[in-house]
């Protein structure tokens, strides 16, 4: 009886499930959605109702689960906007809306819904309607090309900022619940993840902002799941790979709901026990800093690790202004790790950062 250990005795107290926050980013770019074969296999209406069902399923997992929905589009096509929860509501310290807007009295006998599901559905549809209305107002019908590019970085930034706000406010609360009973000092946080439903291709000029978001997410241990309904995206593949998220390119978009339910619904706690789809080949190409082109092989500044597709003029690095001794044939094939770290540090404020890049 010398080895009486109180902690072991109470180890069977399993910790309750952490609340889980899902931030959904929907690419609402109209052009891919209305182009065949996607427009026939999965019209936007169907996709949206499937997504709403998926979000309801996420909310059904637990009372504490939360959802946010962000729309991503081209700057002229609406930009990045939070559709749900609506921002206008005054929030209390925990980030919850304090009062709800008055709602019309439901008709007796009308089929009803679980309140959070109803709020979510109405919120998302209203938010989407607002975004589309603002696009229609601004659209002068002159420039079609700008509309076709989806800027995903803005939406990712919004998502990360939102997660940071919620998790930051909730961290203290959760820490308490965790210490309760078990006596452990583990600092609890909210389990957050991002799901990007993407239909458009990459915008090469967005390489640096997207990668910055990816590294921020990686540091915060926020998985970025990517559901590629159409097209192909190098950057999002890398995002999912770097953050430990799920990347899937849908072969059969009409089975969208089943894909969502199987691969994207399990939260981080359940994922420990499940085999989820992984990418066999990740496209690790980067975009150069000088012409924003996606390159296979390029030049890397030895000081700040910036990437160039051609030798910069006068052999001076455009980011850190270092005079580089460039010899012909000194072209370097980048390694995976180097490139990632390089973009993280080299793209900051343009200041030379010398030192070992962090993995």
């Amino acid at each position: 009886m010398d080895r009486v250990d109180a902690t072991e005795h109470f180890a069977q107290h399993a910790q309750g499930d952490l609340p889980s926050l899902l931030v959904l980013i929907i690419d609402i770019n109209p052009i891919p959605w209305t182009t065949n074969p996607l427009s026939t296999a999965l019209p936007f209406n169907t996709a949206l109702s499937n997504l709403l069902l998926f979000l309801n399923a996420h909310l059904a997992f637990s009372h504490t689960n939360k959802v946010a929905v962000i729309a991503a589009a081209a700057p002229r096509g609406g930009g990045a906007k939070i559709l749900y929860p609506a921002a206008e509501l005054p929030t209390d310290t925990k980030g919850r809306p304090q009062s709800r807007p008055p709602q019309p009295a439901p008709q007796p006998g009308e089929p009803n819904k679980y309140r959070p599901f109803k709020d979510l559905e109405e919120g998302v549809l209203a938010g989407l309607g607002k975004v589309l209305a603002s696009v229609n107002e601004e659209d002068d019908g002159t420039d079609r090309t700008v509309v076709s590019e989806t800027r995903i970085a803005g939406a990712l930034t919004l998502a990360l900022a939102y997660i940071n706000r919620l998790a930051g406010a909730g961290a203290d609360n959760l820490g308490q619940t965790l210490t309760k009973g078990t006596g452990t000092t583990e600092a609890g946080t909210m389990q957050s993840r991002i799901l990007v439903v993407s239909v458009a291709g990459d915008v090469a000029s967005e390489y640096v902002p997207v990668m910055n978001c990816v590294f921020a997410a990686q540091k915060k241990h926020i998985p970025i799941d990517v559901c590629k309904v159409a097209g192909n995206s190098v950057f999002l593949q890398q995002a999912a790979d770097a953050t430990g998220g799920v990347y899937m390119k849908l072969d059969a978009p009409n089975g969208f709901l089943q894909y969502l339910m199987m691969a994207y619904l399990p939260d981080p706690a359940a994922r420990q026990h499940l085999v989820l789809p992984t990418q066999a080949n990740v496209d690790f190409r980067a975009a150069c800093f000088c012409h924003k082109k996606v390159v296979d092989v390029g030049y890397v500044c030895s000081i700040c690790l910036s990437i160039f597709c051609t030798v910069p003029p006068d052999n001076i690095c455009m980011t850190c202004q270092t005079k580089l001794a460039h010899t012909v044939g000194g072209m370097v094939v980048r390694k995976k790790k180097k490139k990632k770290a390089g973009t993280a540090t080299g793209s900051g404020a343009g200041t030379p950062t010398v030192g070992t890049p962090r993995p």
């Binding site: 109470f10 009372h63 007796p108 006998g109 109803k118 709901l257 359940a270």
Partner: protein
């Protein structure tokens, strides 16, 4: 997991026909899904929800990591016990009623989530009022249990329920609190409510009320909205009867019993929340109870305890496990000692209940520390409990009389994977398990397979 889940597990013992009836209501389906299933089981249900064909077991086996076999078996076992899935020819099928109701819950289109009142109430009720009402009713019950003098006395029905639930005992004229009652008092509000409601459920049989209707109503209350009036239309006679009892507990509010509307209080709307959400409920209550504000207990590393309270209820609770020495108008001081803790444990209060209570009610000043309570005190309270626990009893079954070593080994391995194995003796080929249903299935399956093999050979 908290105690509420343990008491919730009583529901697993319901007969399959009852589950079938329960799954007819989308809101009950949703609540049971949320409250009773482990995380992995939820994922499995969701994956199967929109598939029309049965899922082959081989698919589930491939989907779950081989290292998580134990969790998988636990999840599948739970689903089987709750009659959500059934297995046939190595294929897993989701119960049709469950599937239909759950889909309906997610997509809407049913009328299962209460009928809100359409007309304006002549006497509108605010959320604060409801909170105050619920707190007053609930506290009255607690006060009655600890025997403090208070102006409000709970109704006859409540008293009968407390006695029937073994929380109080009739001695001479007055009812006295029992050991179970003590540990009841130290639990959080949600657990307390569920303990009483489940007791209500078990009493229902004698009152000739339908189990299913009662459970439906509990789950319905859990899905309602705080501060919203709901119409009594559509409730069954049993449920109308219940409404009156629930009003006594402070779970629903009605201005008059003849009124055709009712308001769920915070006690009701949090019924189906998980343990993680409980503290926020507590805070909601605390905001309503302005006098006690937030936490009020300060514990020092020298085992001294200071409680900024004048509530007789809180003081009597503290007196269960601490030796109180001084009392000021707004402050009680005392000391936690081996003797006081041992005394509490003899009354049936566990160390974790005491620690939970102290943590939940910790003073804001104390809350700035991590961990909230001084670790020395927490550890010592636990050690004091272990002192008396040299022996631990676990209910279960002894499995023995294996004919061959191979039979014994394989069954043993299976039990180990399930996580139910508690003790083994290889020489005698005996082992002890905490749960025997799945093991019995396994043995029967093996016997059948062997018989089939023998037949094939013959």
């Amino acid at each position: 997991m908290s105690g509420s889940l343990q008491s919730f597990e009583q529901l697993e013992a319901l007969p399959p026909a009852t589950f079938k009836k329960l799954y007819q209501e989308p809101c009950t389906t949703l609540a049971l899904f949320r409250r009773m299933l482990p995380n992995l089981a939820k994922s499995i249900v969701m994956a199967m929800l929109y598939q029309d064909d049965p899922v082959p077991m081989s698919f589930i086996n491939a989907w779950v990591k081989p290292t998580s076999r134990r969790e998988k078996e636990m999840a599948l076992g739970k689903l089987r016990r709750l009659c959500i899935t059934s297995e046939k020819n190595q294929k897993l099928t989701l119960d049709a009623t469950f599937k239909a109701s759950f889909r309906e819950a997610l997509t809407g289109g049913s009328r299962s989530f209460g009928t809100p009142c359409t007309t304006e109430d002549k006497h509108p009720v605010t959320v604060e009022y409801l909170d105050n009402y619920a707190t007053a009713q609930w506290e009255a019950i607690l006060h009655y249990m600890v025997g403090t003098e208070s102006e409000r006395k709970p109704s006859e029905g409540v008293m009968r329920l407390l006695v029937a639930g073994g929380l109080m005992e009739k001695r001479s004229r007055r009812a006295e609190i029992t050991q179970a009652g003590f540990s009841f008092l130290l639990q959080d509000a949600n657990t307390q409510v569920w303990t009483l409601l489940l007791q209500y459920l078990s009493m229902a049989a004698s009152l000739r009320m339908d189990h299913v209707e009662i459970l439906h109503f509990f789950m319905l209350l859990g899905s309602l909205d705080l501060g919203q009036a709901y119409s009594k239309a559509g409730l069954t006679p049993t449920q109308l009867n219940m409404l009156e009892d629930l009003r006594d507990y402070g779970i629903v509010y009605q201005r008059k019993s003849s009124s055709d509307r009712y308001y769920p209080t915070r006690l009701a709307t949090t019924l189906t929340s998980e343990s993680a959400a409980l503290r926020t409920v507590q805070q909601g209550f605390d905001a309503a109870m302005s006098q006690s504000g937030q936490g009020f207990i300060v514990v020092e590393t020298n085992y001294r305890l200071y409680a900024y309270t004048s509530s007789p209820l809180q003081i009597s609770l503290l007196a269960f496990f601490a030796r109180l020495s001084q009392r000021y108008p707004n402050l009680v001081t005392g000391k936690i000692s081996r003797q006081s803790i041992r005394q509490a444990i003899r009354m049936g209060i566990t160390a974790s209940q005491i620690i939970d209570y102290l943590t939940v009610n910790a003073h804001p000043q104390l809350r700035k520390n991590t961990p909230v309570l001084p670790p020395t005190v927490v550890d010592q309270i636990r050690l004091w409990q272990i002192e008396g626990e040299r022996m631990k009893a676990t209910p279960g079954s002894l499995i023995r009389d294996f004919s061959t070593e191979r039979d014994y080994r394989e069954t043993l391995n299976y039990a180990e994977e399930l996580g139910v194995l508690l003790w083994r003796n290889d020489q005698k080929r005996w082992f002890f398990v905490s749960r025997h249903e799945q093991i019995a299935d396994f043995i029967a399956q093996r016997a059948r397979a062997q018989a089939a093999k023998a037949q094939g050979r013959a």
